[in-house]
Symmetry: C2
Subunit: 388 residues, 2 copies
């Protein structure tokens, strides 16, 4: 096991009707900025519940944070937060709204720092203050409600950057499984795949003797597979399945399973390009990469693929090459079973073109990714060529 | 899944040589009280490492905290902490030292409150301040380094009380697996059993639809079984096994697997009496109760025993009564395989006498325990009568 630090100070408030508990969790005399996305919270009743819980608070609103939150939008929020002397940020939405709110939290009170430098020059770790934030999660997927990470896009320049800081752990995150009832099926499917791949990025690398973390990762994969059919039940939705869905997504990226072990994240890095170039949803972009990356890296990842196959996928043949084949197939089959395609061609994307474009973008940045830092732009292209 | 709150603000600093990091984690100008136990830390080098890391700090010492920390001893520490205006407490030891330090932390700054009332009148939740504390763990078992619980004994009156407060989460806990190298084999065995039973108390109850928590509990049980033989290796010790041992114990009682599910703890309540009456080590007392409690409660715990048997113990027969038999036997066999007896008679204790004495003590307190709150003193006695 590698040395590590683990820290996660977010309080999770979980259950039916838990949005009403906001009134006690948001500081009484705070000027609160309520940040949200495209307005779906006004249709599904979440906005009303939040406003009702905060009726004694001074609330200003900032709506319109888009999927893959845009730097330009967030600059406006930062400006407004400073002008209105906001003391507390409340993100109501999914990972994009929460990630965007984290950026506002760290940029707004540090007026002497250029916000862009926080993303590009690694300043987040040096800053000493951030506005406190809380979240009301409505779209389980990214785990942002339970970690200190944030990913921000700059559409103007087609760039995507991330930062991490203990200052932006949400003070609390409210998880009411009923907020998922109005989600369309494809967002549920996306959330399941997103959480699944968050786990595999921290697990399918090389053995580091982390018996505990390996079992914890396998636990989440087994849980996601077990719950998936019930999570997709729509009419009526299954409360308990949605509760497990929400909690699995939060646990998949709360730092716990990733401590003391190598991590990969190449699937995410390739996927991000596919989102930028072709507009695939984040989870869609992961599903068309992961099986092929595992195939391409099957020798380096051999030991963990065998373990994953045996323990999670029930593939117990002692013919190891065959077990790896069956295990990767079973991974793709699981995604397909919940309605998620696993090839570029299924989305009408030409693998040859995608491979060339992603390779060019990786090489322009000089990227080398993966747990061994050996996946080059040419490797990313080779992986995408398999996705047909 | 039941509604819940989860919160755990302890920073874990894990790895070889991590005690040296103390210097940066303890506030610079603090007067530090260093609390420890019987002095084993002076023999195994841990004391020297701590003193060396704190050479620029003002440190006063309080040694002699005993196993099952005694109220009378801790009153002396509280008095001294007040007199010397201590700002920070550093617990160096196992669960008893850490539990005792948590009590000092909450009692010392609340001079207007009778310390005994914190334990007996549930005052801990109302108090607003505690001294900050950190820990250096040397004996993995209780998980106290990663939770907000504390159990205190009063030898004078043969009483044992616990309290819980978010104010006593350690600010940090330093986990260096090499500190376990000097532990005798029976303390390693005890730690493994203690962690295992911490998990079963939160898992072997009735199904609550907690797919995630069930899998996480099973992950820890599987991990403990997997690592146990290597943890007991003495000459030389296996660093990686000790690292997993330490991390498994911390994860078994850090609140995560217990949220949203029913909990039992009757094995602990019976075991505590056996420790008080016969001086069994805590883990020994759990091992002579758990298999028999599972046997006695096999109908109520049927569904979870079948699941545990299938997923953890590999008992897959569809003859359910037989699967439960084999599962309970496998649990006892695991304990025995690491040198832990599972009957009162193996410790030279007469089950008839123990049953009568424990029943009398439970009834004197009017205790009814278990996940259904239906285990009476008579049931506790019936369970102990099986332990032969």
């Amino acid at each position: 096991m590698n040395d590590f630090e683990f820290y996660n100070s977010t309080r999770i408030i979980f259950g039916k009707g838990s949005i009403a508990k906001l009134s006690k969790r948001v500081p009484k005399k705070a000027t609160v900025m309520l940040l949200y996305g495209g307005g779906s919270i006004k249709e599904n009743g979440v906005y009303d519940q939040v406003i009702s819980a905060l009726k004694k608070h001074n609330v200003i609103e900032f709506g319109g944070i888009e999927a893959n939150p845009d730097y330009a939008t967030l600059l406006k929020a930062i400006k407004q937060a400073r002008k209105k002397k906001v003391d507390f940020l409340l993100a109501v939405g999914g990972g994009s709204v929460i990630d965007g709110t984290k950026f506002v939290a760290i940029a707004a009170p540090n007026a002497d720092v250029e916000p862009w430098d926080i993303l590009t020059r690694g300043l987040a770790k040096e800053l000493k203050q951030a506005l406190p934030l809380g979240t009301v999660l409505t779209l389980p997927a990214t785990g942002s409600e339970f970690n200190h990470n944030s990913v921000i896009s700059r559409r103007e320049t087609e760039e995507k950057y991330s930062f991490a800081s203990d200052l932006v752990f949400p003070k609390f995150s409210i998880l009411d499984p009923e907020t998922t009832y109005s989600l369309p099926k494809n967002q549920l499917r996306n959330g399941l795949v997103d959480a699944y791949v968050h786990v595999t990025e921290q697990y399918l690398t090389y053995p580091a003797g982390a018996i505990v973390q390996d079992r914890q990762s396998e636990a989440l994969l087994l849980a996601i597979i077990e719950m998936a059919p019930a999570v997709l039940k729509m009419d009526p939705p299954d409360y308990n399945a949605r509760a497990n869905f929400m909690w699995a997504c939060s646990n998949a990226l709360n730092h716990l399973i990733g401590v003391g072990v190598p991590q990969d994240w190449a699937t995410h890095r390739i996927g991000h390009e596919l989102t930028a170039l072709y507009g695939l949803a984040h989870a869609e972009s992961l599903a068309v990469v992961l099986p092929w990356l595992l195939w391409y890296k099957r020798d380096q990842k051999r030991d963990k693929l065998l373990q994953y196959g045996y323990r999670v996928m029930g593939q117990k043949t002692q013919k190891y090459s065959e077990r790896i084949d069956r295990t990767i197939e079973a991974t793709a089959a699981f995604f397909q079973s919940i309605g998620m395609p696993t090839t570029l061609t299924a989305f009408g994307i030409d693998p040859d073109e995608a491979a060339a474009r992603v390779q060019a973008r990786w090489e322009a940045r000089g990227w080398v990714q993966g747990e061994y830092r050996d996946i080059t732009g040419a490797d990313a292209a080779a992986i995408l060529l398999l996705s047909r």
